[in-house]
Symmetry: C2
């Protein structure tokens, strides 16, 4: 574990403990299998980034009620719901080192428990009584499904542009993180400037987070990744390092990259060849730079807030998103 | 087409026309495939029962704004979302005589467009600005997914009790119809008595509607049904006629019924044998009686309203639910 991660976890350990409790308690007395499947996806080492960001966003705007911790789990449920459906759609086998839910309980249960978690997060959302918050949740949910559809339709297409990639990751990942930060501000009755600042922070953090996640597929080792190396490629997902390198590559190299991309059953050697190309044509470095730029934007957005311990933590989270190795 | 249906359609033709327009317009400028899949499920001869009930419920409480027609489609989108996921879960092949969406576009798209329609209905729901309405939508959505999960978990189990069956159909079908009627009342700022009356009407209508639908699986001919005869049984869904007859059957007949139920590949002759048993042991008649009792409750609930054309239509819809042949 890196020093940064260690320090960060220490700073938020009380919040994380309360979030864990709320996640458990709000599953409610439901049908056994719902509890099992929801627990499988919810309690398998998730980072709780989304609820944590909501709590911190609320706190930086001066809100100190514990209720925010209970409510924050809405965004973890929403996240878990999309993971259940996405793993199914991607035919993934492992998540965080564990077999995916649909391989344990079957596709139907994965679809339905995903639907349930979506509905549950909506129900908890309505309990706040804030119409604005519900609108944010609805908007995020709509965008997430559209982002996933866009991604699916462009699957395996070597012509995916950087602009399309950015649109997809904004919708499927960044808007949820933006939403959780914004909702934190709304719950604190923050000023429009503060709400806007946290919204900008969340969006940029989310973009950087997804780019860094996509990078790990080419740079991490399988064990720390908790899923197959090259899984994105196998699923036909073209990410920024590939898109950038394909554009820069000499024609003959572009053709050999295309052949690897289009071959669902590429070999370990094919994969290594591709990673060489990503290095040669600067795709890995470029993706890191784009992520770093967004982290810079995220941190910059927080300048409307005075110095505080909470602000430091939000800055640390931004640094962590960029440097994480797992 | 029966006289009742013909008369009913004539009474509501203007409302249905406006609902069709709103269904089209609210799909919005989305990704092509979303529009295609959503249109496939939405514009394939659905009865528009749910939006129509909302409009009529609102009108009987004195609300005359055209906005209610625009808004009413929330419940059709919600319904379509569950159909997309349910057809996938049931491995259905036909709906309303057309190939199901997942067989045309694949499972992933069916899951994601279902998610999108769910999110879209939530978004439109928030536009009303009524927190109470959003709570109803959230509650209905949560119950629907739980009802489907319950049904799935009890699939093929010959010990399913009548009480469990009733709980499942309330959750998966009746609460949506109850919700649409209640929301109509809420939009009209109806009195608590009126809201309660329409809620009771909707719940009972929904229960009867599902029982009648389940009955058709044993009594209709394939052509008018628009799906395979015996589809419920093939999917392992035990419905009221079967549950009742199994309970009443002599031990040897119960065993032969169980064998047919447990055999996913039952023959036409097996199916005919089962229908004979349903007749012999009164399951078909009993299910009709239970449906009729709920229709009676539904109609009775409307007694708080004075006579009006709208009330007549709501009463006709109740009669139609009981007597429909397709």
């Amino acid at each position: 574990m890196s020093n940064l991660k260690h320090k960060l976890l220490d700073e938020v350990k009380d919040d994380l403990r309360d979030i864990e409790t709320a996640l458990q308690e709000n599953l409610g007395p439901h049908i056994d299998v719902v509890r099992q499947v929801a627990s499988h996806i919810l309690f398998s080492g998730g980072k709780r980034l989304r609820p944590l960001l909501l709590v911190l966003s609320s706190r930086i705007c001066g809100y100190g009620d514990d209720y925010v911790k209970t409510f924050s789990i809405v965004f973890e449920y929403l996240h878990a719901a999309t993971l259940l459906h996405d793993d199914l759609i991607d035919s993934a086998t492992l998540r965080r080192g564990k077999p995916v839910a649909h391989s344990v309980w079957g596709n139907s249960i994965a679809v339905l428990v995903g639907d349930f978690l979506l509905a549950r997060s909506l129900s908890i959302g309505t309990e706040t009584g804030y119409l604005k918050i519900i609108k944010i949740i609805a908007d995020v949910t709509e965008n997430m499904s559209q982002g996933e559809i866009q991604q699916l339709m462009r699957k395996g297409n070597p012509d995916l542009s950087e602009a399309e990639y950015m649109e997809i990751i904004q919708r499927k990942t960044a808007m949820l993180i933006q939403g959780t930060c914004r909702v934190g501000a709304v719950m604190a009755d923050a000023s429009p400037e503060e709400e806007e600042a946290l919204s900008t922070y969340g969006l940029n953090l989310g973009i950087a987070f997804q780019i860094a996640d996509d990078l790990l597929d080419y740079t991490a080792d399988t064990k720390s990744l908790g899923k197959e190396l090259g899984a994105d490629l196998r699923e036909g997902k073209l990410t920024l390092p590939v898109i950038c390198s394909m554009k820069a590559a000499a024609p003959e190299h572009r053709i050999s990259m295309e052949n690897i991309i289009k071959n669902e059953n590429f070999s370990v050697q094919d994969f290594e060849t591709l990673v060489e190309m990503l290095k040669k044509y600067g795709g890995l470095v470029y993706a890191e730079q784009v992520a770093a730029k967004h982290i810079e934007n995220a941190k910059q957005a927080l300048s409307v807030f005075g110095d505080s311990k909470t602000k430091d933590i939000l800055l640390h989270i931004a640094d962590y998103a960029l440097n994480r190795k797992e």
